[in-house]
């Protein structure tokens, strides 16, 4: 057997090796004026180098909160109350702030959604892109600048040497997102989290950015966690998917299988509401209702109020995430019934 180059997204041995990121039973509370709510509840997933895992869900489902807990950037009102986040074998949640800072960049890195706000408006972009090298490698300003220019070239900014002196507002939205990605991958992190990296961009630019992320993933052998609400982006760019609803994981598995045969009514509802799949001339199906307030999540299944399959058991007993096939799991008492639908 020929050894594959490391850049290939080799599926077979990825399963056996230690995952680049393993989140286990993560729970996050948010303290508000009107009490404490559980924003993320018992979330587990793992991702290997060279693969992309999508965290999929609607606004407020806890996907961004999960990402921020992993990189340690939660607001002071939010607090991790349980679980572990293992990166490179160590549980980062147990580390001191100082030790965690050392991992921010070389091990765990994050790209945010709004690139204009995420770049410092009063610093030239070259300086911001060079900053990881100054912080972690102790490079001089001049050396860091050269690194920054190289990064700009890699992510496809034309005339990087001249543009390094420009300020964020002098770039287009797509270019700014490229800069933000360049900054996040500067130190070739093991895990790159991308929080809605293309939401603010138009469709053509979106495709370019996703392609860039994919190329960088292969080239730098990173594990990518893609946080999104866009089913099409997940279908096209992710290997595995974790679907979240009201702070809970409702279904997880390889994207292709989950999308072909959803085993949770929420997943099915989402997929049915994609226009391409709908029947012409009929109203577009949608998941009726809206997610529960986090302060009033029902004791049973979190999805019961909107679920077509809901019955008595769902009101009393919260379904556990249980295996529905190899590498797949769903949190539904009646997931069996969906196979026949």
């Amino acid at each position: 057997m020929n050894p594959l180059p490391s850049t290939a997204t080799a599926e077979p041995d990825a399963r056996t090796a230690e995952p680049a990121l393993a989140v286990e039973h993560l729970s996050v509370d948010v303290h508000t004026a009107s009490g404490t709510v559980r924003a993320v509840h018992d979330v587990s997933f793992s991702v290997h180098k060279g693969r992309t895992l999508a965290l999929l869900g609607e606004s407020g489902c806890g996907k961004s909160m999960t990402a921020l807990s992993i990189v340690g950037l939660l607001e002071p009102v939010a607090e991790v109350v349980g679980g572990s986040v293992k990166a490179g074998g160590t549980d980062v949640l147990t580390l001191s702030r100082r030790a965690r800072r050392k991992l921010a960049g070389p091990v765990l890195s994050i790209v945010f959604q709004d690139a204009l706000a995420a770049l410092n408006p009063v610093q030239p972009v070259g300086r911001q892109l060079g900053e990881p090298f100054r912080i972690h490698h102790g490079l001089s300003r001049r050396e860091a600048r050269e690194k920054a220019i190289e990064l700009m070239r890699i992510v496809g900014i034309p005339e990087p040497r001249a543009r390094a002196r420009s300020y964020p507002h002098q770039f287009s939205g797509g270019m700014r997102q490229r800069l933000l990605i360049a900054m996040a991958v500067a130190l070739a992190p093991d895990v790159l989290l991308a929080d809605e990296p293309t939401t603010a961009l138009d469709v053509t630019v979106q495709a370019q950015i996703m392609r860039l992320l994919r190329d960088l993933r292969a080239e730098r052998d990173m594990a990518v966690v893609l946080i999104t609400h866009d089913l099409a982006v997940v279908a096209e760019h992710a290997d595995d998917v974790v679907i979240m609803y009201a702070g809970n994981v409702v279904e997880t598995g390889p994207v292709r299988e989950v999308f072909a045969k959803p085993r949770h009514p929420y997943t099915k509802g989402l997929l049915d509401s994609v226009p391409e799949r709908a029947e012409k001339g009929k109203p577009l199906p949608a998941v009726g209702g809206s997610p529960p307030e986090l302060s009033a999540v029902p004791p049973g299944c979190v999805f019961q109020a909107r679920c077509p399959l809901a019955r008595e058991r769902c009101a009393d007993e919260r379904p556990r995430l249980t295996a529905t096939g190899p590498a797949r799991a769903a949190a539904c008492h009646f997931s069996e019934e969906l196979t026949s639908v």
């Binding site: 800072r101 610093q123 300020y167 002098q170």
Partner: protein, 309 residues
Amino acid sequence: MTTFLRKRIVSSAIPLVVVVLGVFILARLTGNPVDLYLPLSATAEQRAAFSAEHGFDQPILVQLWDYLGQVVQLDFGESLRTGQPAAEMVLEAFPATLQLAAVTMLIAIVGAVLIGSLAAYRPNSLADRTSSFLSMTAASIPDFWFAIMGVLVFGVSLGILPTSGVTGGPEVWVLPIATLLIRPFGVLVQVVRGSMVAALSAPYVKVARGKGASEKRVVFGHALRNATMPVLTVAGDLTIGLVNGAVVVETIFGWPGIGKLMIDSILQRDFAVLQAAVLLTAVTIFLLNILIDVCYALLDARVRQAVPA
């Protein structure tokens, strides 16, 4: 940048002219210098001669026209009191005021940035609430009251600080600077705190933390520069207030600056000196405003480019 400067200079020139006209007319409302400079027993001829010598017998518009004609030739007239050229007297007094204002603002800005940033770093902490309370108090104390209390306590009762004058060691600076400092310092702490709270919650600060930046780097490298704009605006205004408002402090402490000179000139109806002093103050304020705008442009590229060519 030159377009930017040119525009600012043109737009500031009009207020300058208005100030010159205003002072000229207001000064003459204080009364006729003749009454002050000649003895009560002076004859009508003597009074007429005095008026004619200094041009006070002319209609006010003619006086104004003559004055403007002199000003454009940089001739500001002579003091009625001393016969010295007014420009000379004003320029002699000005450095004392500038020194006072510069030292005060330096202390106020450095102190306010440190304390305001500290307060903003942990909003609602004990440090934040303490500094908010104290700075609010400082900003509310009237300076003349503070000056008088300072003189009373440290000068008269304790006898450890001089009550007025500029002769002596560094202790002569303490009370005048403390008096001038208290309000700008209080105001600036509040402004720094407010803009730092906003800057520290901006997404780019989160990104900087995500890069592994130390807290020192986050606060001073990323947030502070963004918080500088409002601070600069207020600090600029306060500096102008100091140059302007040194009148009270200089009078109380006998500080030989331009504020004291102005008061003396008004009391003596020494129009030429008063006009020169006000004009110099106005020009200083005008230059300060331009300096502030230049600072804006240097600090933020968005301001630089916002000015249409």
